[in-house]
Symmetry: C2
Subunit: 235 residues, 2 copies
Amino acid sequence: MARKRRGLSPRHQKILSFIEAYQNEAGYPPSIREIGTQTQISSTSVVNYYLNQLEEMGFLERKSGVSRGINLLKTQSSNVIQNARKTLSNLADQLITIPLVGNIVAGEPMPVPASDFSYYDPDSGIDIARSLLPASESEDQLYALRVHGDSMIDAMVNDGDIVVMKKVDRARNGEMVAVWLNDRDETTLKYFYLENGRIRLQPANPTMQPIYINDPSTVEVQGKVVLVIRQISHN
Amino acid sequence: MARKRRGLSPRHQKILSFIEAYQNEAGYPPSIREIGTQTQISSTSVVNYYLNQLEEMGFLERKSGVSRGINLLKTQSSNVIQNARKTLSNLADQLITIPLVGNIVAGEPMPVPASDFSYYDPDSGIDIARSLLPASESEDQLYALRVHGDSMIDAMVNDGDIVVMKKVDRARNGEMVAVWLNDRDETTLKYFYLENGRIRLQPANPTMQPIYINDPSTVEVQGKVVLVIRQISHN
DNA sequence: ATAATAACAGAACAAATGTTCAGTGTCAAG
DNA sequence: CTTGACACTGAACATTTGTTCTGTTATTAT
């Protein structure tokens, strides 16, 4: 047997990179003789020989009979484009738009989007960097509300703040949730704890006292709070 | 005189778009005869005639003597790339990274970046959608701090919250600022009001009382608060 | 060493392709 | 109408270019 050909020989590489450089510069592929001259190959048949190999390896396509009928397949520039596309989609992924579906007021039920609300118009949405959200949050269950009034100050949430919520119907212990209290006709934001049959709603403000609810059916969990944003307006 | 040639005739356009399509498909430009066949031009000399015109108009370059020596200059695909680049930079503009330079604690002076701190390493930065910030905010003066402890609850800011600040050394009335109180050895976040020589520092929490300071030299304005972000962690 | 295969040389050939040129028709301005 | 620029035809011609063929030289396995 003769020598094994593993991967690309220096000549293969030289030819490939020359073709690509030529193509980028001239706008069309080089001829066989031009390739030969630039890669120190004296005979056109040898260039032909290598081109056929490169075609079999899948690096290019040739059209027999046509001058300069070389179509580079795995080029550097195609990588550039692919990378750009990748970066593009990555960037797009990093920024997600969350629909601002309404206001949250203590005295009235808060708006909750329908179970499948992917069809909303983003006429009023807020843009959030993905990195601000918990890593695994599926973004299609998120919506945002603007807080109206000072009634949420025990949750450290101000008038005008934006709360980003995730649609859930049951809360786990320690999560901050928006709940509707049936017996009080009131919406509130509290940390949720279910402790041996009794619900404890703990204000975020550590100086304030929790609410205890013995009948869990009187609280309706509207969603859990994922993010609170306060934009300070300067006039 | 003869008829004026204004812009591109249908034939010019047909030839150009064919060359581009061919180039994209095959990876190399078409020959003159191929162009003629596809654009219903019977004579190679006419194709040559048009190609020379298109070259003079700057749509392509030709290398005399070389087969398929056509280099398309103003192609659609170059537009695609340009657009992608544009979109890319637009997207990048929408998302800005703000350096997280340290913690803000009531009992000690808060870190303030140097006057020109554009050279920081973004080892720990937070990404913010531009739309969340006041429109005209120049982003190079922004930095972020993480709040440590419960001492800012009168500013409605919790332990762990992130405050995005803008570097200023003087505050205007109504702005929320971080100030260092010399005589108390304390950092605090308050709304700033200068009222006939006296400074009023108003807590964000409407249930709390303001601080009045008669000697303006005892307060050092460290920056104004632009945004407050609270990430609710779910374990 | 020897055989087999890969790598290369050189030249001849044929096909593809660009170039040129002598004409023809058309249209609009003078 | 005449003229001249423009649009176009057809074909011949000259190069460029890919292809092929014969042969030589290196490399490697047995």
